[in-house]
Symmetry: C3
Subunit: 355 residues, 3 copies
C-alpha cells in the first residue's frame, strides 16, 4: 500500500478531531510530524503506515506493532512505537481518512463509451460514466453521476438513481428500479425470474413472474448475488441494507432498512424481515415468514418460524441463542451420559435383586 | 402492476372454465363485469387487481382482502369485497391467465444484432433473437425461435434447441447441448471444468475434463448457477427439471426428469438422482451416490448415503424424516435430562447406602 | 466421446511405462493392438474406450465392464473384457494420457480480437489470445501465452502471469495480480470490495476497501466464485490451491498453498489457513481464525475456532472428527435413552418406597 495516501499524524488528528498520545520517547511535535503513506493491520504495519484497533481481540498486538500511528477508541499508556490518535469510532474514522487521503476507486471516464448500445427513449443525467459494451434497454432512466462499468446490461424500463455504481457484468432485468447511491458488485443479477411452478400431473408449469425488484437508496450488494423479481408486486431491499457476495433473495422477499446479510445467506420466497436484521454467513430463512426488527441470526443457522423483535437465534432449525447453546453443551456430554445411564441401570438391577 | 393486464372477471372465468361466486352485495352480472388491470397478493391487492389463494396459510386474509377477484380452489361463502372464481388449481390457472392477459417478457428483436460475433459454420433457425455483443463459437447450431440476450457467450460446437431463452451473461462452454424450451437466467455457467485433481507428492495435478453437459428439454435454470462438464461422458439435467439460483452441479452428476432443486443446493460429483426429486434450499449431496425417485430432502440437509424411492430426509447427516425429528425433539430435552440423570445417580447412591 | 482420442493400448502403455495384463482369451499382441478412441467410466465404457479404476468403490464393476482397457493401480487376474494397464497412480496417468491424446481445450485464436478494448499503457506478452469484447484497463500487464476468453474484463493495473487462462465473463478489479498458469472459470469475480462497514447511529458507513487480491501461481478457480479485495494489504490465494465453484473468500483472507476448497464453501474475513488444507463442500470458516496445515474440514461443517496442524473436524460448530462422530452416534440413541431414563425414575421411585 505504499503511496496509498500521504498525510501527517497531525493532519489526520486535525481532520478527525482526535487526541494525540505520543509514542514512547517522542514528543508531541515529532509525533504530529510523522508522515503516513499507507494503511495496514497492526501485525503488518511499518512506521510509514496508519493502523487501527477496532476489534479488542487484537489489543495484544499494541506493544509490538511497528505502525507509525494507531487509531484507537480508548487511550493507552504510550506505546513503544506507535503514536495513538484517540477517536470515538476507529473503524468509521479510518474509513473517513481513507476516503479523504486514500486512493480513489477507478471508474470509467465521464461520458458514454462509443461501444455502449442504447435502446429507445433512454434518459441520462449529468456526469454519468458509461463504460465499454454497456447495453441499456428501451425507456431506461439514469440519474446524475451514475457509473455503469463495462459489460453492465440493463433491461427495458430500468431506473437507476443518482450516483449509483454498477460494476462489470451486473445485469438488471426489465422494470426493476435502483435508488440513489446504490452500489452493486460484479456479476450480480437483479430481477431474474422467481422460482415458481404449479405442478400438474407431475409436470412443473412455470408461473409467470411479472413483478419487479426495488432496491432502495444506499443499498450495497456484493458479487455474484441473485435477487429475484416478484411473482407480482415487488421484491424489496430496504434503504441502507448491505448484502454480501453469493446471497440469494427469492421472489417477493422484503428486507427492511439497514440490514446486514452476510455471504451465501439465502431468503426463501415472500419472507419479510424488519430493520437492522443481521443474517450471518450461510444462514437460511424459510419462505412466508415474518421476522421482526433487530433480529440476529448466527452463521449457518436455518430459521423456520417467525421471530419477534430483538431475537437472537442459532442452530438449524434455529432456536433462541442460549437455549440452543445449552443443548449443544449437553450434546457434547451425551456419549458419557449414555455410559452413566447404562451403569445406573446395572446398579438398579442390583438393588432390585435385594429382598 | 397497474396496466399489467386488462380483462374482466367474466373473461377470466370464461378463459379458465371457473365458476363465479359474487361478492357480498354484488349480483352475478356486476361481478362478471369487474375490470382487472393488475395482479397482487391478497394483502396488497386493490379492487382493480386479480389475486389468488394457493397456500392455505393465507386463508385468513380472505375476509379483509380488497382484491377485485380471487382465484380459489374451494368456494367460500361470499366475501365482503372479492369475487371468487373457483378453479381446480389456482396456481396453475393464474399462470395461464397471466400468460394470456399479462405483460410479455422483454426479449431482443427478431434478427441478429450487428454487434454479435459469429464463428465459422454456425447454423441458426427461424425467428431467432440474437442480442448485442453475443459471441457464438465455431460450429454452433441454434434451433428455431432461440433467444440469446445481450452478452451471452457460446463456446464451439454448442447446440441450443428450439425456443430456448438464455438471459444476459449466460455462458455455455464448448460441446455442451441444450434441448428445446430451455430457459437459463443471467450469469449461469454451463460446462465449466469439473473439479478433479490427482495429487502427486502434495501437488494437485489437473485431470482434464473432456466430457460435456446435456440439458434436456423444458429445463429452467436460475441465475448464477454453475453446472460443470463431465470428466468424460456427460453431466445431465433431465427433462422438465427446474434449478433455482446459485446451485452447484458437479461433474458427471445425473439429475433425473421433473426435479426441483432449490437455491444454493449442491450435488457432488457422479451422484445420480431419479425423477421428481425435491432438494430444499442449501442442501448438499455427497458424491458417487444413488438417489431414487420422488426423494425429498428438506432445507439445509446433507445426504451422505444412497436413498431409495420416496425417501423423505432431514438433518446433516440426513436421516429419515420422522427418525431425525424424534432425535431433534429429544435433543431439546437434553439439558433437563442430564439434570434428571444427575439426580438419579444421587438417589441411587442413597439407596445403595441402605443395608 | 467417440473421436475424443486415438491411440492403441500399446501406445498408452508405452507412454506411461505401464504393464499390460491381457484380457481373458487375448494374447499380449492382440491386447496391445487394441485401438482406443474414447474415455469413459467403467459402467458406460465400450470396447473402444479407455477406462480406469481410481476409487476402490467401483472395484465391483471390473468383471462386467465392457471397456477395452482399464488403467489400474494393482494388477487383477485377467478380466473378461478389459485389458489392464497397471500404473502407480491411475488418476494422474489418465490425466497425462488425455492431455497427450485427447481433445484440446478450445481457446480464442492467437492475437487480439478487433473488438477488444484496451486502456493506456497496456503491455502484452508473446502469443496471447485475446477474445471478443475483452476490456482491459489502463496499465495492465499480461505475460506470455495468456488467454482471455470473450467478455473478460480487467480493471486498471491488473497483472496476469504467463499462460494463465481466464474464461468468459471473468472480471478482475483494479490492482489485483494473478500469477502464472492461473485458470479462472466463467463468471468468477476477483477483487470485489470486502464487506466492511462501521455502524454509526444505526447506519452502516462503508469502510473503503483499498487493498488488493493476489492469486499465486498454478491456482485454479471454478465458476461464479467471489474473492474480495482486502480492506488494506491483500487477500491471498497460495500457489497450487484449487477452488471450486461458488466459493466465497472474504477480504484479507490468506489461503496457503496446495489447498482444496470445494464448492459453496466460504471463508470469513481475515482468517488465515495453512498449506494443504481441505475444505469440503458448503463448509464455513468464521473470521479472524488461524488454521494450521493439512487441516481437513468435512462437508457442511462450520468452524469457529483455531485449528492446529493435521486437525480433522466435522459438525457445526465443528469438533474433532471422532469426538463429534461419537456425539452424533449417541444423539441417534437419544429418544430411546430418554425412555430408559423415564423407566429408571419409575423403578427408583419404586425402590425408594421400600422400607
Amino acid at each position: 500500500m505504499a503511496g496509498a495516501m500521504s498525510a501527517t499524524v497531525g493532519q489526520l488528528a486535525g481532520a478527525t478531531g482526535g487526541r494525540i498520545v505520543p509514542a514512547q520517547g517522542l514528543d508531541e511535535a515529532a509525533s504530529a510530524a510523522r508522515l503516513l503513506t499507507g494503511v495496514a493491520g497492526l501485525g503488518d504495519a511499518q512506521v510509514s503506515d496508519l493502523s487501527f484497533l477496532a476489534n479488542p481481540k487484537y489489543m495484544g498486538l499494541l506493544p509490538t506493532t511497528r505502525a507509525g500511528c494507531v487509531l484507537i477508541g480508548a487511550a493507552q499508556a504510550p506505546l513503544p512505537h506507535a503514536v495513538q490518535v484517540v477517536v470515538a469510532n476507529p473503524d468509521h474514522t479510518l474509513a473517513q481518512l481513507v476516503e479523504a487521503f486514500g486512493p480513489k476507486p477507478v471508474h470509467p471516464e465521464v461520458g458514454i463509451h462509443p461501444t455502449a448500445v442504447f435502446g429507445a427513449r433512454v434518459t441520462i443525467g449529468a456526469r454519468c460514466r458509461i463504460g465499454a459494451y454497456v447495453v441499456i434497454g428501451d425507456d431506461c432512466r439514469l440519474g446524475d453521476d451514475v457509473v455503469l462499468h463495462p459489460h453492465v446490461v440493463l433491461g427495458a424500463e430500468v431506473a437507476v438513481g443518482d450516483a449509483s455504481v454498477l460494476y462489470p457484468h451486473v445485469s438488471v432485468r426489465e422494470r426493476c428500479t435502483l435508488g440513489a447511491r446504490v452500489v452493486i458488485h460484479n456479476g450480480t443479477v437483479i430481477g431474474s425470474d422467481g422460482f415458481g411452478y404449479a405442478t400438474v400431473d407431475g409436470v412443473h408449469r412455470k408461473i409467470p413472474q411479472i413483478g419487479t425488484v426495488v432496491i432502495e437508496d444506499d443499498v450495497e450488494i456484493g458479487a455474484n448475488t441473485a435477487i429475484d423479481r416478484a411473482r407480482f408486486g415487488r421484491t424489496r431491499i430496504g434503504a441502507g441494507t448491505k448484502l454480501d457476495n453469493l446471497v440469494q433473495i427469492a421472489h417477493n422477499v422484503e428486507v427492511g432498512p439497514h440490514g446486514i446479510i452476510v455471504a451465501q445467506a439465502g431468503i426463501a420466497g415472500s419472507t419479510r424481515i424488519g430493520h437492522h436484521v443481521i443474517m450471518g454467513g450461510q444462514t437460511g430463512l424459510a419462505g412466508h415468514l415474518n421476522m421482526g426488527n433487530h433480529v440476529t441470526i448466527t452463521a449457518q443457522s436455518g430459521v423456520g418460524k417467525n421471530l419477534s423483535d430483538g431475537a437472537v437465534v442459532r442452530g438449524s432449525p434455529a432456536q433462541e441463542f442460549k437455549t440452543e447453546m445449552a443443548q449443544e453443551v449437553a450434546r457434547r456430554k451425551l456419549p458419557e451420559a449414555l455410559e452413566r445411564l447404562r451403569k445406573l441401570e446395572a446398579r438398579i438391577a442390583e438393588l432390585e435383586k435385594k429382598p
